[in-house]
């Protein structure tokens, strides 16, 4: 009973925060909204019993990448962008209504055609969300793609170091 309530709560927070990221005039506020969004998405993972993924999301994105973002924004001391023109409330309402209508029509159409995915309730997620199950999958079934991604990351890291160097050796 609690899970759907939590899901919609965190989904609403995530959507609000991502809109905030787009609309904030000040880069720091924008970055902060993005952090809230990432934390809300992490909470969504937690409601799906995928604790490991959720925590890693916090650890990697909110804890490391966004700290670097914020560091750079603060280091450059970016000014807030000026408000170019006031957004007309009526146009905004129009867009919101249009999006809602489109969503409703798409939903009805998909349901009519039987194209909606069936829901697999959290039991399977509970079994696959543990670090052990995840690691077993990752290191046996998907060992090759995993290693390839590792290689890709290594190449990207070396590339970043090379670009950051003043003179190419």
């Amino acid at each position: 009973m609690l899970a759907p309530v939590l899901f919609f709560l965190f989904a609403a927070v995530a959507i609000a925060a991502s809109i905030g990221t787009l609309l904030a005039r000040n880069p720091v506020n924008s970055a902060l909204s993005l952090i809230v969004n990432l934390l809300a998405v992490a909470s969504l993972y937690l409601t799906l019993n995928a604790a490991f993924i959720g925590i890693v999301q916090v650890l990697v994105y909110a804890g490391a990448i966004m700290v670097l973002f914020l560091f750079v924004i603060m280091l450059l001391n970016l000014e807030a962008t000026p408000v170019l023109e006031a957004i007309d409330k009526r146009i905004l309402a129009g867009y919101a209504g249009g999006t809602l209508l489109l969503g409703a029509i798409t939903y009805l159409l998909a349901r009519g055609l039987g194209a909606l995915p069936t829901f697999e309730i959290a039991e399977s997620a509970a079994a696959t969300g543990t670090p052990r199950a995840l690691a077993l999958n990752l290191f046996t079934t998907y060992a090759l793609p995993f290693e390839l991604i590792g290689l890709l990351l290594l190449v990207a890291t070396i590339g970043a170091v090379m670009i950051a160097k003043k003179r190419f050796v």
Partner: protein
């Protein structure tokens, strides 16, 4: 252990209050210890042996005017100290205080500790930015660079413990130190992985911004660092967060490396006194054992602060990236190889 929700809430309430009170005790203790180290009496005017000094300090902080700088960002300016205290207190929920006595026991609690440590930096960084002052901004920048640099080594030393235990659950990590082949206190992870323990303790100093890693608030260069522009109880919350942070860090150090709540020679003690098993007294003894060990590390935090000078910035970066990180990485690889061969060759069952 499945306690009803209101019990968890009550225990949580008790633990939060315990940490709030412990902060004021630690402030007093730090001032006394620093007095002894510098050969002066320390606080001795307010109450017997100056014991009421922290209460006087808090009363002063509460009644001071709350000043926020003009052109600061008021919401974030108020948010930053709240964030610091909240995150510091949240970590306490993960610590097992005795066998079966832990508020949050998840599959990944060791990772959760790291995640909370890594988002704790936002308090300092945002305080630095929102104050709209160059001293604060420098403090915030230093803090974020420092946290990112030391998080890696910290994560790798925790990974060593996870490799030994084979679980990310803090309760399992504690119990394993009592586990197979453990003799008395030699099962503690500090004896199984001494290098990782040392690295973790050093990085814990860096992550809590305690001297010799207190560059974000270096008084001599930055006035007060990130909390220069804070006054009254908002400053008090930073102060509180600092003490709660390093006390919680002591608890985490003890949990990961020094047997957590385990009593020294617990097995021998239990076989000598079989009536003790599963009794309330054992739980109380375990809480006391954890407290004693954590208090020792809190003392170490204070001891180091008053005996070592602060690092220079490039020394901080050299230590983090060129020494701690490679050593921690090599350590993890060594342990991983050891456990792989152990599994392949079937050593020790």
């Amino acid at each position: 252990m499945d306690l009803p929700l209101y019990w968890v809430a009550l225990i949580g309430f008790a633990i939060i209050n315990f940490f709030l009170v412990s902060a004021s005790v630690l402030v007093y203790y730090e001032r006394k210890v620093s007095g002894w180290i510098q050969n002066r009496p320390g606080p001795n005017r307010v109450g017997p042996w100056g014991f009421l000094q922290p209460f006087a300090d808090v009363a002063k902080l509460i009644f001071k005017e709350d000043i926020s700088p003009t052109a600061s960002s008021p919401f974030i300016h108020s948010l930053a100290p709240v964030l610091m205290v909240t995150i510091a207190m949240t970590t306490a929920a993960l610590i097992p205080f005795a066998r079966g006595f832990v508020i949050v026991d998840t599959e990944v609690s060791a990772l959760l500790v790291l995640a909370l440590t890594s988002i704790a930096v936002y308090g300092v960084t945002l305080a630095g930015w929102s104050s709209n002052s160059k001293f604060s901004l420098l403090g915030g920048l230093r803090s974020s660079a420092q946290m990112i640099s030391y998080e890696l080594a910290m994560g790798l030393s925790v990974l060593t413990v996870v490799l030994i235990t084979g679980s990310l659950r803090l309760v399992d990590i504690v119990e394993y130190q009592n586990g197979p082949g453990a003799w008395g206190i030699l099962g503690w992870n500090v004896f199984r992985a001494p290098i990782a323990a040392l690295i973790f303790i050093v990085t814990a100093f860096a992550e809590t911004n305690r001297a010799p890693f207190d560059l974000p608030e270096a008084e001599q260069e930055l006035v007060g660092g990130y909390h220069t522009e804070y006054s009254g109880m908002k400053f008090g919350m930073f102060f509180l967060a600092e003490y709660v942070n390093f006390f919680v860090a002591s608890f985490v150090i003890v949990t990961l490396f020094f047997g957590g709540y385990l009593l020294p020679w617990e097995d021998a003690l239990l076989s000598a006194l079989p009536g003790l098993k599963d009794s309330v007294l054992l739980g109380v003894l375990q809480v006391l054992s954890l407290l004693l060990k954590a208090a020792f590390f809190a003392f170490v935090f204070i001891w180091v602060r008053w005996t070592l000078p602060r690092f220079k910035y490039q020394q901080l970066m050299t230590l983090g990236w060129k020494m701690l990180l490679p050593i921690a990485l090599a350590n993890v690889v060594l342990y991983a190889l050891f456990f792989t061969f152990k599994a392949l060759l079937g050593w020790g069952g």
